[in-house]
């Protein structure tokens, strides 16, 4: 399977009369996009804004982040099984408005969370301070029940991303990344001496605001599934997860899954990348045992020498991570886990994340309780009161000088457990 990702570098976004890209400037026809989003009769109104890196803008509460992309030469556009009919992804050519992102915001059931600061201290902690963001804030029709509300927000973001990139279908890409991999059998023949590595990506799969989707199928409905890494890189997996700001996997992070990218970078050279297993993080213990057992079995069947396991969320998924690790290590398969930790605001508590003797190789994506002080913003996109509800915010977290104390867990992507960001902890 060969996938080409053509990058068209975006260096600014502005509203204008026509949606187009020229010399790195993405111009967006606001009315046209708004009309498109309002085609969904669950949506009463939509507000569109732009947030650029360095601007004193705070976006809150962020629901999802999506990278604008277009499938070149394809009649069917959009996310398969979600915003379009099922179609093949993971091969052919996809053009990307690289450096741009759609950011959806708005509250569903008082569960506001997730800050993206485009400037100052806060910008350091989120990867989405570096993208030019088109911010989509919908107002639902009165009385819309939360499940539908969540769906409407999710689809609005995905549709907006496809809309923005449509104009780039026939553009010349400035950089083309090629992701190509033979089938497992061929690869083993080709690279007999390279260690075979599988990637297990765990997904929160627990109900409203706690779901992920694979080709539109809710991940809580699946058994652990083996997919080609290219499928995920090309839009097969999207986020419906509106909690866990710091350690959820946004759609953007699925499209650019960093573990997949970094394994690909060494594929055929230092390792043999077997593929991706998507594993649901369920609520029942029985479900957890089943998923973990089957995940370990898939790794065994594929002859994996090593498995990198990434978690999503904190709390009950820690148990899944532990059990998968234990089962794999007992089979003699070496694991590396990526997770985050809670070692208290002062960092002095022993992290509890995952303590099983088998977890000998763990990457820490940071302390979720680490305190940061955010400088005052000039523009708030969204709702400043939401900071009080943000995980990490508390009643007096807004200071008189406008600065905000918050824990890292309030910041989108801060402690990404797919290792998307550069945060970690060190012992001092």
């Amino acid at each position: 399977m060969r996938l080409e990702l053509g990058r068209i570098f975006i260096k600014d976004i502005q509203f204008g009369s026509e949606t187009k890209v020229s010399n790195g400037l993405l111009t967006v026809n606001k009315d046209e996009l708004a009309e498109l989003i309002k085609e969904d009769d669950r949506i009463k109104d939509v507000k569109l804004d732009i947030a650029r890196p360095g601007e004193k803008v705070r976006i809150i509460p962020v629901k999802d982040v999506i990278e604008p992309r277009v499938k070149v030469g394809s009649k069917v556009q959009g996310f398969p099984g979600v915003t379009s009919a099922m179609h093949r992804v993971g091969l052919g050519r996809t053009n990307i408005l690289y450096g741009a992102a759609v950011v959806t915001i708005g509250d569903i059931v008082g569960m506001q969370e997730g800050i993206v600061d485009m400037f100052g201290e806060g910008a350091k902690w989120t990867p989405f301070s570096k993208t030019f963001n088109l911010v989509v804030d919908i107002t639902p029709e009165a009385g819309l029940e939360p499940h539908s509300h969540e769906t409407a927000v999710r689809l609005a973001g995905l549709k907006a991303s496809s809309y923005l990139a449509k104009c780039a279908e026939n553009m010349e890409a400035e950089e083309v990344l090629v992701y190509e991999m033979d089938n497992v059998a061929e690869n083993i023949k080709k690279y007999p001496d390279l260690p075979k590595i599988l990637y297990v990506e765990m997904l929160i799969s627990q109900g409203l605001l706690h779901d992920g989707f694979i080709y539109g199928v809710n991940s809580k409905e699946i058994l652990p599934t083996l997919i080609h890494p290219n499928e995920e890189l090309d839009g097969a997996v999207i986020s419906g997860n509106c909690v866990a700001a710091c350690d959820k996997i946004t759609t953007y992070q699925h499209q650019n899954n960093s573990v997949i990218q970094d394994l690909y970078a060494k594929h055929g050279k230092e390792l043999n990348f077997l593929g991706v297993v998507l594993t649901p993080e369920l609520t029942t213990l029985e479900g957890k045992f089943r998923s973990c057992e089957m995940t370990a079995n898939l790794a065994k069947m594929l002859g994996a020498d090593g498995v990198i396991v990434s978690e999503e969320g904190y709390g009950n998924p820690d148990s899944d991570l532990l059990i998968i690790c234990k089962k794999l290590e007992q089979e003699g398969i070496k694991t590396v886990l990526i997770t985050d930790e809670c070692s208290g605001q002062d960092g002095f508590s022993q992290p509890l994340a995952d303590t099983t003797p088998e977890a000998v190789a763990v990457v820490s994506a940071g302390n979720v309780s680490h305190l940061v002080k955010l400088d005052p913003a000039e523009v708030i996109l969204g709702n400043i009161a939401a900071i009080e509800n943000i995980s990490g915010g508390w009643h007096d977290s807004v200071q008189e000088d406008g600065r905000i104390f918050c824990e890292l867990n309030a910041i989108i992507g801060a402690t990404s457990e797919i290792g998307f960001h550069n945060v970690t902890t060190v012992l001092r």
């Binding site: 260690p195 003797p357 990457v363 994506a365 990404s416 960001h421 550069n422 902890t425 060190v426």
Partner: protein, 350 residues
């Protein structure tokens, strides 16, 4: 820092060149000269700072008159208003280490200035102040002085300049035990791939979330004749006299209780109850022997099947994994049992 920084230095009677054990009871005195290690230290910081005062205090005096000593030291510090406080190094000297630790912790908390000391890693003073002070890891004797002082001087200079310290191993200090969140060059996924490859190649790798390591101890020899043995009863199940006279905490206790049970023939619910926060107390409160089987042990004693039940019963609270404090309790309880000639122990956990 354009101005020169000021250091107040603390040493004991020995390093203060007053005398040995015979002078260990001396009260704190202050010298505006640099004495002992303070002299060497002053030479190492001479480009940017000065030791403005050396405090010399007897180890015994400090440990026996802690409040007085701290009060005197406080007034000295107020007078000289230093930018940083340095104590020791104490190497493996226990009383000196405790003094450096207690004073270091106190000064840090009262004056909010950096505190630097030096100790051998097993010095009991380490645990006293590791979170407050930067403790240079030294050798176990004064022979390590020449190595320790430059390390201390370097760290002191960094701290007064507001520079961030590197890792404990780079800088030579004992980890404070904090997990500091930092931004690094490589993203997490890349670190994971590198760690995986290192693991598979059998190379060394460093996990970013180390587990507590438990050492092992050889099994003690079996009791030769149980009928003559003194058996002690210990529990982590939180069964204490009903008024909980020692105020033992309901979880992760910071102390243990020791109660004379020699006159009892069991743990009566009238006299004992559980304060453990980790389980439903109903059953233990109905009959505390369900947690610590004193009733049966006493019956064994009466029947002559064991020598006797040790007169003191020991109790703390904790689940199996709360390690740090339980080590300390084990050391103290073990010492007392050993001294009392106890032959064997039954420990129950909830």
């Amino acid at each position: 820092m354009s101005e020169r920084f000021k250091v107040v230095y603390y040493v004991n009677q020995f390093f203060g060149q007053i005398g040995g054990e015979d002078k260990a009871s001396m009260e704190p005195e202050v010298h505006e000269s640099t004495v002992g290690p303070a002299l060497g230290f002053n030479g190492l910081i001479k480009d940017s700072g000065d030791v403005v005062a050396t405090i010399i205090c007897g180890d015994n005096y400090f440990n026996e008159h802690k409040a007085d000593a701290l009060e005197k030291i406080t007034s000295i510090i107020k007078k000289y208003n230093p930018d940083v406080f340095v104590a020791g190094p104490a190497f493996n000297a226990g009383r000196y280490g405790m003094a450096c630790g207690e004073i270091g912790k106190y000064v840090f908390e009262q004056f909010k200035i950096p505190v630097v000391t030096g100790m051998y890693k097993e010095n009991p003073g380490v645990d006293v102040c590791r979170q407050q002070a930067i403790i240079i890891e030294t050798g176990d004797s004064a022979a390590a002085m020449r190595k320790a002082l430059p390390v201390m001087a370097k760290i002191v200079t960094k701290l007064v300049n507001g520079e961030e310290l590197g890792s404990p191993s780079e800088e030579g200090y004992i980890p404070q035990g904090t997990h500091k969140t930092v931004i690094v060059d490589k993203r997490g996924s890349q670190r994971a791939v590198d760690m995986m490859l290192a693991r598979l190649k059998g190379q060394e790798f460093e996990t970013e979330m180390p587990m507590p390591v438990f050492d092992r101890v050889d099994p003690a020899p079996a009791v030769k004749d149980i009928r003559k043995a003194t058996i002690a009863l210990v529990t982590s199940g939180g069964i204490v006299p009903v008024l909980n006279p020692d105020h033992i905490e309901s979880a992760s206790a910071t102390k243990f209780g020791k109660y004379d049970i020699s006159g009892m023939d069991g743990l009566s619910p009238k006299d004992f109850k559980t304060i453990h926060g980790g389980y439903d107390p109903v059953y233990a409160n109905e009959d505390p022997n369900r947690v610590a089987p004193l009733d049966i042990l006493k019956q064994y004693e009466k029947d002559g099947k064991i020598g006797k039940v040790f007169e003191n019963y020991y109790v703390t609270t904790g689940t199996g994994t709360a390690v740090a404090n339980s080590v300390k309790f084990g050391v103290e309880i073990g010492a007392q049992l050993k001294a009392a000639g106890v032959d064997a122990v039954i420990l129950t956990s909830t």
